[in-house]
């Protein structure tokens, strides 16, 4: 099995944008946030990604604005480097190599040229103690700078970046960890520590979670795990410090932030309510409820006009200071694993998977952006820890995208499982799915698999459940009754009380294969007759897949005991089998190809093959670490025309898969990458204007027009310059006078040629010339494109007409021709010169 360099596994989005606090630029127009290994620059008004600052080789762990230049930003990463970016142009300016895993970065206006980084303690390698160090940035012009001057400021800090804060413009730095608050004064070079009594014996966890310092006054606000906020004052001595307590949050306070003027304090937690406390009037609060998911970070723009909150569901909400949501930047949501399979919406070609609790998300693969959320559960989400929530666990589209079926379930700790099966119809008018039928408790136990029949005649859904039955659901049309069409159970089946685990329809919908533990049963969906059973070597079935197109007579199955089997349905016998631990088998809907992901010794291998022959078309070892549980073939909108045997399988559709770390990866070929690169270059836009789809449409058009205008204007300038620089004139002037024709003869012609040339240039500007003139000019400007060539041409062919010029009476046509000749150049003179001697 050969590895093919032409096909690479590439990262395709889905990274977290809520890992660290986002940063709003000084002019409030852009928002910077770390996203995986890059820093993304979003426009705050249009929610569009403007730049993707790439360069880090590991997770970006912090982004801050450069205090000395508000158009630059520092980012730190787990790869041990700090990079300085010009985010308006998307350029990497400098790279500082620190050499340690950096957890977070802090800067202050008082300390220009100094970065405060949280890095592991240098001396103790194994321990996970962290320290805050100050790094003096060397002033060199180099692109890559090694910095080794680290001076420790605080020891034993929390890895949480929101537990460190600069106070009063950088006079002191406060850090909290556990039950301890430490304040370090830079002037006095002295630190004070304050301890809270543990509330554990009272059943409360009052450890610090986050702190924020007042920008003007000596006040530190600290958030605690029990939901309390404490305001610390008078902390520049050991003894007489005071604090006041405010309590609204019922769970841990995740983040705290003072507004730049210090008039308000913002706090957020799992309740997903943004609370705005008035400083000094703490009983006055403003709320912004139902922000969708737990708030993890709050950032405030330097002028205080915008807030933004990061949420646990990979979302950044931009909020105006009047507590009104103005924009939402939403990434791929992947909280606690993907429960539903990856699916492709046949209409929008978007990737569909479960997103926020109780929602399905539609995610555009090409733009790395969430398109919309479909509320499946339709219940008020209660933000509370330890509460059983409804989860969307299964979803399926029919072939045309007209119907969507979803299964939601909630496992209560005491009582039985709650399952709902919902059918959604696509509504052309609203361009979204509308609930049609809800079936409560469709099965007595968990639903293991669900699939629509691909046959165009019937709308049929089959569900299998751990209760040992499979059910067929049909769209019953009650045309005679008042009710609209709804779904109802058509057939209940089982096989020897075995639990069905997987099912698959053949491509034309005429056969249904159901895996009952070790037995494959093949049914006819029209009559619900059990056609045949295929025995599987020991081990429960994991996946079943019918071959497509030319391989439609094959049925593939994988078992838990490392077997991949292929049956021939015509002979009902085993065609071939191989020992493989296939964790996932995926069929390409547009070709015969199958992709099998095999997990082997901690990493996953991919094999692409056709069911007709047990020889892989393509194989790649160790595409990622861990098991691949979800993958999907997404149809391409533009077919590739690769003739290479090994990359042909990528021609019609692209294979996406989710790794264990919830990264969305795909396979891409060289040609495709080149094309993408080219298109991304084309799409480079001026950042001075916020990038909107309209701008992309109209702005480019405008630019082109401008260029055209310039092209039109330029020739004029060139033309007027022509006489001076012409070689012909030079020659004319340098040739001895006695070999020239008589001056009167030359002069009149020369002068006239100048006149003509002038009039023609004027003609360009004035459209009020006569028809003939402008027509000839068009020809002229067309030929302008290649003046040198023209000149040479003329040199060769000129003599004829030039001879005629001598005649006193010229026919009109001749004159016109002569004029045209003259207009091109003055080289006619040189030809004259040439032929004279």
């Amino acid at each position: 099995m050969v590895e093919h360099a032409a096909i690479r596994v590439v990262y395709r989005g889905g990274s977290k944008i809520n890992f660290r606090e986002p940063v709003i630029t000084n002019d409030s127009r852009f928002l910077l946030c770390g996203s995986g290994e890059s820093v993304k620059v979003y426009s705050t008004s249009t929610e569009e990604c403007v730049h993707d600052l790439k360069g880090h080789t590991d997770l970006v762990t912090g982004v801050v604005l450069n205090p000395s230049n508000h158009l630059q930003a520092y980012s730190c990463s787990a790869d041990g480097t700090v990079r300085l970016w010009d985010f308006t142009d998307g350029i990497l300016i400098k790279t500082f190599i620190i050499g340690y895993h950096i957890y977070s970065i802090h800067v202050s206006e008082k300390h220009l040229g100094v970065l405060f980084l949280v890095v592991p303690m240098a001396n103790e390698k194994g321990s996970d103690l962290l320290q805050l160090v100050a790094v003096h940035l060397p002033r060199t012009g180099d692109q890559v700078v090694e910095t080794s001057e680290l001076s420790a400021v605080l020891c034993d800090v929390s890895p949480n970046p929101s537990a460190v804060s600069f106070g009063t413009g950088g006079e002191y730095i406060a850090a909290a960890k556990g039950l301890q608050l430490e304040v370090f004064f830079f002037k006095k070079q002295k630190s004070y520590r304050f301890f809270l009594k543990s509330g554990m014996n009272k059943g409360v966890n009052n450890s610090f979670t986050c702190i924020s310092c007042h920008p003007k006054e000596d006040c530190i606000a600290s958030g605690h795990a029990d939901g309390k906020i404490r305001l610390w004052r008078n902390f520049n001595q050991k003894k007489e410090y005071t604090y006041t307590t405010m309590h609204w949050h019922h769970n841990s306070v995740n983040t705290l932030r003072f507004t730049p003027e210090g008039t308000n304090l913002l706090s957020g937690g799992i309740e997903s309510v943004l609370v705005q406390w008035r400083y000094t009037q703490e009983n006055q609060k403003d709320f912004l409820p139902r922000l969708g998911a737990a708030i993890t970070h709050i950032a405030v723009s330097p002028d205080g006009s915008l807030f933004c909150t990061s949420h646990a569901d990979n979302k950044i909400t931009i909020i105006q200071s009047s507590i009104k949501v103005s924009a939402i930047i939403q990434g791929l949501v992947e909280d606690d694993g993907v429960q539903t399979d990856l699916m492709i919406d046949p209409r929008s070609k978007a990737l569909v998977l479960n997103g926020k609790p109780g929602h399905l998300q539609f995610y555009s693969l090409h733009r790395d952006k969430q398109l919309y959320n479909l509320d499946i559960v339709q219940q008020e989400y209660i933000h509370e820890q330890g509460l059983d929530q409804f989860q969307v666990v299964k979803a399926a589209f029919d072939t045309h995208g007209d119907w969507l079926a979803t299964v939601e379930e909630r496992r209560q700790n005491r009582s039985e499982l709650e399952i709902n099966l919902k059918f959604w119809a696509y509504d052309e008018q609203t361009q979204s799915f509308v609930l049609n039928t809800t079936v409560t408790t469709p099965h007595e136990d968990r639903i293991t698999a669900m699939c629509f029949s691909p046959s165009p005649e019937t709308t049929l859904l089959v569900t299998t459940s751990l209760d040992g039955h499979f059910k067929a659901w049909l769209l019953a049309d009650h045309s005679d009754t008042q009710e609209s069409a709804s779904w109802s159970c058509d057939f209940v089946g089982g096989y020897h009380l075995l639990k069905p685990g997987c099912l698959c329809f053949s491509a034309d919908g005429s056969l249904l294969a159901l895996g009952f533990q070790e037995v494959v049963t093949v049914w006819s969906p029209t009559s619900w007759e059990l056609l045949t059973t295929l025995s599987q070597p020991p081990g429960a079935l994991r996946d079943l897949c019918f071959g497509r197109l030319s391989c439609s007579k094959y049925l593939l199955g994988t078992s838990t005991q490392n077997q991949l089997c292929c049956w021939n349905l015509l002979t009902c016998s085993l065609e071939w089998n191989t020992p493989m631990d296939v964790s996932l088998l995926q069929a390409d809907p547009l070709s015969e190809n199958m992709a099998a992901f095999c997990s082997q010794s901690g990493s996953t291998d991919l094999f692409v093959f056709k069911p007709s022959e047990p020889r892989p078309l393509y194989s790649k070892k160790a595409i990622c670490t861990g098991k691949v549980e979800r993958a999907i073939f997404a149809p391409r909108d533009q077919m590739l025309e690769s003739s290479d045997e090994h990359s042909q399988w990528l021609n019609r559709s692209q294979l996406y898969f989710l790794t264990q770390h919830m990264d969305l990866m795909t396979f891409s070929t060289k040609t495709e990458e080149d094309r993408l690169l080219a298109s991304s270059k084309q799409l480079m836009v001026d950042d001075s204007v916020a990038v909107t789809p309209f701008y992309l449409l109209l702005g480019k058009h405008k630019q082109e027009q401008q260029e055209k205008q310039e092209v039109l204007n330029n020739p004029l300038a060139e033309r007027t310059q022509l006489p001076q620089g012409s070689i012909a004139i030079k020659e004319l002037l340098e040739t001895p006078a006695h070999v020239l024709p008589s001056a009167s003869f030359l002069c009149s012609m020369f002068v006239r040629s100048l006149l003509m040339s002038n009039s023609s240039t004027r003609g360009e500007g004035e459209p009020a010339e006569d028809e003939m003139e402008s027509e000839s000019e068009e020809v002229d400007s067309d030929e302008e494109a290649d003046p040198v060539h023209q000149r040479q041409d003329l040199c060769g062919s000129a003599p004829g007409p030039v001879e005629d010029v001598g005649a006193p009476a010229l026919s009109k046509a001749q004159e016109r021709e002569l004029r045209r000749v003259r207009k091109f150049d003055h080289s006619w003179l040189s030809s004259l010169v040439d032929c004279k001697p």
Binding site: L291, E416, Q482, E483, G493, G494
Partner: protein, 525 residues
């Protein structure tokens, strides 16, 4: 941000028949008017002339009722014995009736004394009808004969002696004056042609025929006898078309709806069934209190009149449709159309500043409380709404929502005697309802957990708890009985089903039948 999502009230499927257009049509009758006659109502016939009076033959009299009066407008009492088959002529002027004393009498509708008496039968005459030219009368008698009479001369024209048993029904063709059909207790139907003076077609019904009916086109014939209603194709030499067996007692009367699209059959099993004449499926069913002997529909289906064996005549009038009501009653003044569209088509100018008004969504009272996390109050308002509207779905939905939020215990706790008894009242009313049981049993357990310490302090609560206990015990007994029945059925099905090579999955499961009973609950939103 996203607005509060109100509590989802589960819509439970309505059990029983599906609501179809037919159901709506046939249900659209007022409560029946009941009139007590002297004996079993043998026959009902509507006058073809407006105002469509109808003649009701019962015992020894014929009453003629007006369309809306409950008192007879006319009564014919000159019968020596039980009268049969009072029929109007097509002009509504004459009425003919048979009698047990074998004499057929012809009345003028406005007169009282019989105009003509047709004597010639030897036994009771059960059928008397006018032919389509209105000059002749067809009579069928228990002496196995049927006769044609000339009205002006009151003479017998022809006598047909082809049947071998009582002739209890007959019908004349409306299109041809010479054709008529008779049905007899000898199980046959015979189609007679007066021109050849003999039967031209014989159909075997296999049961004593009680009623025959021509379709308006007269290409089809319907007969009722025994439990069967049969349809015959006359154009195919009397080929049987369908045999309907929807009654479980003898079908006594047949009738077609005004547009000829529906067939109605009445039976001794006290039901009237409505069939669709295209697919012969039952589309509606009327229930009556006694065995039905006669049935008639007013033209345009304005009323359904049914006569029963206990002498009760039941009349259902059609409800006046909405538009008609509008026309009758004062038209309600509505705001002018312009009021509604005012400003609707206004296009904002360029300098206009648009102020968008946030759409306020209306929340129910309990939702408002839930939004504020006032769990006890939310439960209180939900119980209040149950008391007012008797809609347990809402209360159950709120309890379910509280349970989902994990705050049901808080909501149930801390109640005084009055509050608790109200809650227990609700539980007593609904806990055994299979639709709500899963939610309410959980809540009941919680209540018992919370309040077991205070049992015995209040007599009201104690009484309710005892009632609840009885209720639950009884329900458990029921369930046990049902399970036993289910087990019996399973063994029966297992022994009945033929052994196949492959298992028949739909019924072979241990509780294959149970799927039918406790199948998934559906709702359409």
């Amino acid at each position: 941000m996203a607005s509060f999502k109100p509590t989802k009230i589960q819509i439970y499927p309505k059990l029983g028949e599906k609501v179809t257009q037919d159901t709506l049509y046939w249900r659209n009758y007022k409560a029946p008017v009941q009139i007590k006659e002297f004996g079993a109502v043998r026959s009902i016939d509507f006058s073809p002339i407006a105002p469509h009076n109808y003649a009701v033959t019962a015992s020894t009299r014929i009453h003629i009722y007006g369309p809306f009066s409950q008192e007879p407008v006319k009564t014919f009492t000159r019968f020596k014995d039980t009268a049969y088959s009072g029929r109007f002529r097509s002009d509504g002027q004459l009425l003919v009736a048979g009698c047990e004393d074998s004499v057929v009498r012809l009345f003028d509708v406005s007169g009282k004394v019989a105009l003509r008496m047709f004597k010639g039968h030897t036994k009771g005459v059960h059928v008397a009808d006018f032919t389509s030219d209105s000059y002749h009368i067809l009579t069928c008698s228990d002496d196995y004969t049927s006769c044609l009479w000339d009205i002006p001369n009151s003479t017998e024209l022809t006598k047909y002696k082809e049947h071998t048993d009582y002739i209890r029904c007959g019908a004349t063709s409306k299109l041809n004056k010479d054709l008529f059909v008779t049905g007899s207790y000898d199980h046959t139907l015979k189609l007679f042609d007066a021109r050849v003076q003999k039967s031209v077609m014989t159909m075997d019904h296999n049961q004593p025929v009680e009623c025959v009916l021509f379709y308006p086109s007269e290409g089809l014939l319907v007969s009722a006898g025994g439990r069967y209603v049969k349809v015959w194709d006359l154009l195919k030499r009397g080929q049987p078309l369908v045999s309907l067996k929807n009654h479980h007692k003898t079908v006594t009367s047949l009738c077609l709806s005004g547009n000829g699209q529906r067939l109605l059959s009445a039976s001794l099993d006290r039901h009237v069934k409505v069939y669709n004449t295209t697919n012969y499926k039952v589309v509606h069913n009327f229930d009556y209190t006694a065995s039905i002997l006669s049935l008639a529909l007013a033209p345009e289906d304005e009323s359904v009149v049914v006569g029963m064996t206990n002498g009760i005549l039941s009349i259902k009038h059609r409800k006046i449709s909405e538009e008609k009501q509008e026309a009758i009653g004062q038209p309600r003044r509505r705001p002018v159309f312009r009021v509604f569209v005012k400003g609707r088509n206004n296009i904002p100018k360029q300098e206009d500043f648009l102020v968008s008004k946030p759409v306020m969504s209306h929340l129910a009272k309990y939702d408002k409380q839930l939004k504020r996390f006032n769990v006890s109050k939310a439960l209180d308002t939900a119980l209040e709404s149950w008391k007012k509207h008797r809609k347990p779905e809402i209360t159950v939905a709120v309890i379910k929502e509280l349970d989902r939020r994990g705050t049901l215990k808080n909501a149930l706790a801390g109640r005084d005697e009055q509050n608790l008894s109200q809650l227990l009242n609700f539980l007593i009313g609904n806990v055994v309802d299979p639709r709500f049981a899963s939610v309410l049993v959980n809540a009941t357990e919680m209540i018992l957990d919370i309040y077991h310490a205070v049992v015995g302090q209040s007599s009201v609560v104690d009484r309710q708890l005892v009632r609840l206990q009885e209720l639950v015990e009884r329900e458990i007994d029921y369930q046990q009985d049902l399970l036993e029945v289910l087990g019996m059925l399973d063994t029966l099905f297992a022994s009945i089903l033929p052994r196949k090579g492959l298992p028949c999955p739909s019924n072979s499961g241990p509780n294959g039948l149970a799927e039918g009973h406790s199948g998934p609950q559906m709702k359409v939103s």
